[in-house]
């Protein structure tokens, strides 16, 4: 029994936690530094133009992951559920927009006229709405009835919905990679010897615009404020007369809009998709959300950028077979050692 007292005293004096924490911080910094140095030598060896090229990919990639991560983080923030199906909503966006393009007269190899731009905008809008509708239906049918059930129940349901959606995409397009029409002009301009294409600009531009719009919405609009209030304390929000059901539905709606845009851009950028795209991309985006502190919108945007960049740089400079292993190791390490996120933003104590 004396040992308990001792352990308690030690913990209280902050000695153990302090030293362990410092060692951990040191180890983390050492690992990151080692990685950066290694990366630096490779960058120098490979030359500047390659670096700029990779950096461009990295930012575009980061933008897409950030859009997905936002959906995870918003839903987690408001109902504390890992919406496993979110990644698959994103994949659905990629599949759907790929099928819509030809219908709107956007074909591979065709000239990209102002009319095409309007058509593309329509495809974006339709896909985003369809994803939003899908996500709201998921919430309504699969999650809402279980809101007061033991936590395990909605979690299993979320896994089920994710698998169901993957199964649906599998049924639709089969097991192999699906080609996505390459409709954007291949034009671009030179920067430090690297080619920056229309695609890169489009993806980076749209993701920044959407994130900015989301920030504005959450800060300024009534619904955005209701969302933040509900995330902080659901009971209090209820007392303040906030319609909880509507607020939660709105969260799913907005998350899916971003995922739909992300899916469309993924297709336009990579010209390929596959039925379990949502699983892998979803897990990476979830890593990003955790990285930025789950529940934290700005954290998710920054985390998505960072994780997307780490991925792309690793792919570019190291053995890409290990990329996912590395990302998921980051996921586990962050969850274990920095559960509130690496960016150090505070998450409300529950």
């Amino acid at each position: 029994m004396g040992t308990i007292g001792e352990a308690v005293r030690r913990r209280r004096s902050g000695l153990r936690a302090g030293v362990a924490g410092r060692i951990l911080d040191f180890a983390l910094i050492a690992i990151i530094a080692a990685f950066l140095i290694l990366l630096g030598t490779k960058v120098v060896a490979q030359g500047g133009s390659f670096f700029v090229q990779i950096l461009t990919f990295a930012v575009a990639n980061g933008g897409i992951y950030a859009l997905i991560a936002l959906g995870y983080t918003m839903v987690y923030g408001i109902i504390e559920l890992i919406n496993f199906a979110h990644g698959d909503v994103f994949a659905f966006g990629a599949f759907l927009s790929g099928s819509l393009l030809p219908i709107f007269g956007l074909r591979e190899g065709g000239a990209f006229t102002p009319v095409s731009a309007v058509a593309l905008l329509a495809v974006f809008a339709l896909t985003m709405l369809a994803c939003a509708f899908l996500n709201i239906s998921i919430e309504r049918i699969a999650y809402r009835p279980l809101r007061h059930a033991p936590r395990l129940a909605p979690l299993i349901t979320a896994v089920g919905v994710s698998f169901f959606l993957e199964g649906a995409l599998f049924l639709w397009k089969g097991p192999s990679n699906v080609h996505y029409p390459n409709i954007l002009p291949n034009a671009g301009f030179e920067l430090f010897g690297a080619t920056i294409g229309v695609k890169d600009l489009l993806v980076i531009g749209i993701s920044l615009i959407l994130m900015f719009a989301l920030g504005l919405f959450v800060q300024r609009s009534r619904l955005g404020k209701a969302m933040r209030a509900t995330a902080q304390d659901r009971d209090a929000a209820l007392l303040m007369g906030i319609d909880i059901d509507r607020t939660i539905a709105a969260t799913f709606f907005i998350g899916a809009i971003l995922a739909g845009a992300g899916g469309t851009m993924y297709g336009l950028y990579y010209n390929t998709s596959v039925f379990d795209l949502g699983f892998s991309a979803g897990l990476v985006a979830f890593t990003a959300a955790v990285f930025g502190g789950i529940g934290n919108i700005y954290g998710a945007a920054i985390g998505g950028m960072v994780i997307g960049m780490i991925r792309t740089f690793w792919d570019g400079y190291f053995d890409s077979a290990w990329t996912d292993v590395m990302i998921f190791t980051i996921l586990i390490l962050v969850l274990i050692f920095r559960p509130t996120g690496l960016l150090g933003m505070r998450v409300p104590e529950k």
């Binding site: 029994m1 308990i4 007292g5 308690v8 005293r9 913990r11 209280r12 104590e349």
Partner: protein
């Protein structure tokens, strides 16, 4: 003042608990003496439950110390606190609803059992003997609090009053030296309150110190020789029922509102 001479079993030493900007418990100090019935009273939101949570390690205090039997337990985990000998009940009954009353009380003995994984896997004689002992003790405790007829009933199906009693039995099963009761008589009829106070006396007669929170000052005056009054997180009075009843701040903060 014979009580003053007795050794303290629990010392709450300048304990403060903050939730963000809210100071729920503000620099509170007092002693609970061995073998007494000590009471904590105060209006709604005074910080009484928060103080219990601080003592039992559920929400460790922001600053200050908790000392139990001359050992500092500030910041200890709830299960460590329970193992050291502090048991508690909850204001909003927290039974294991889908376990039988018997299993609830058997679970209470968890930290006093010695069967290891090995014993459980192979049902060794040690484990069988222990299970038998634990079951006998559980039935004894159910009888002690007077709800033995519900032995095999799911805890959630017990009548309200019996649920409160079951929580006490479960807490006693951990074999505590100090028992914390958070509003044990809440929602009781006057008759039930009298019965409960009888039970509390029986518990103290068995050598367990009782520290209880009670909303209803009249009830407290009947059982307790020493009372601490909390208001807005601050200790505003301490003393015998007579002293507390005549305290100006108590009358203002507490009785004033009711009259």
């Amino acid at each position: 003042m014979t009580v003053e001479a007795a050794a303290p079993i629990l010392r709450v030493d300048h304990v403060t608990k903050r939730f963000g900007g809210l100071v729920a418990v503000d620099d509170v100090t007092f002693d609970v003496k061995k073998g007494e019935i000590f009471a904590l009273i105060g209006p709604n939101g005074a910080g009484k439950t928060t103080l219990f949570n601080g003592i039992t390690g559920i929400f460790p205090p922001t600053t200050g110390r908790v000392i139990f039997q001359d050992r500092e337990i500030t910041g200890a985990k709830p299960h460590q606190v329970a193992t050291l000998g502090i048991a508690r009940t909850f204001q909003n009954i927290r039974l294991f609803e889908y376990m039988s009353a018997l299993d609830n009380v058997r679970l209470g003995q968890h930290c006093r059992m010695s069967a290891k994984l090995w014993d459980s896997l192979f049902k060794t004689p040690l484990e069988r003997r222990e299970e038998r002992r634990v079951t006998d003790r559980a039935i004894e405790l159910l009888k002690f609090v007077g709800i033995e007829r519900y032995t095999h009933t799911y805890a959630r199906n017990l009548p309200y009053g019996s649920q409160r009693r079951l929580e006490i039995a479960r807490a006693l099963a951990t074999n505590p030296a100090l028992l914390l009761l958070d509003e044990p008589a809440a929602g009781f009829t006057p008759q039930e309150k009298v019965e409960l106070m009888g039970l509390v006396h029986k518990i103290v007669d068995n050598g367990v110190t009782v520290f209880l929170i009670e909303h209803d000052m009249k009830v407290v005056m009947g059982v307790s020789r020493r009372i601490v009054v909390l208001d807005h997180g601050e200790k505003i009075a301490e003393g015998t029922p007579e002293q507390v009843r005549n305290d100006q701040r108590v009358i203002e903060a507490y009785l004033g509102k009711q009259h």
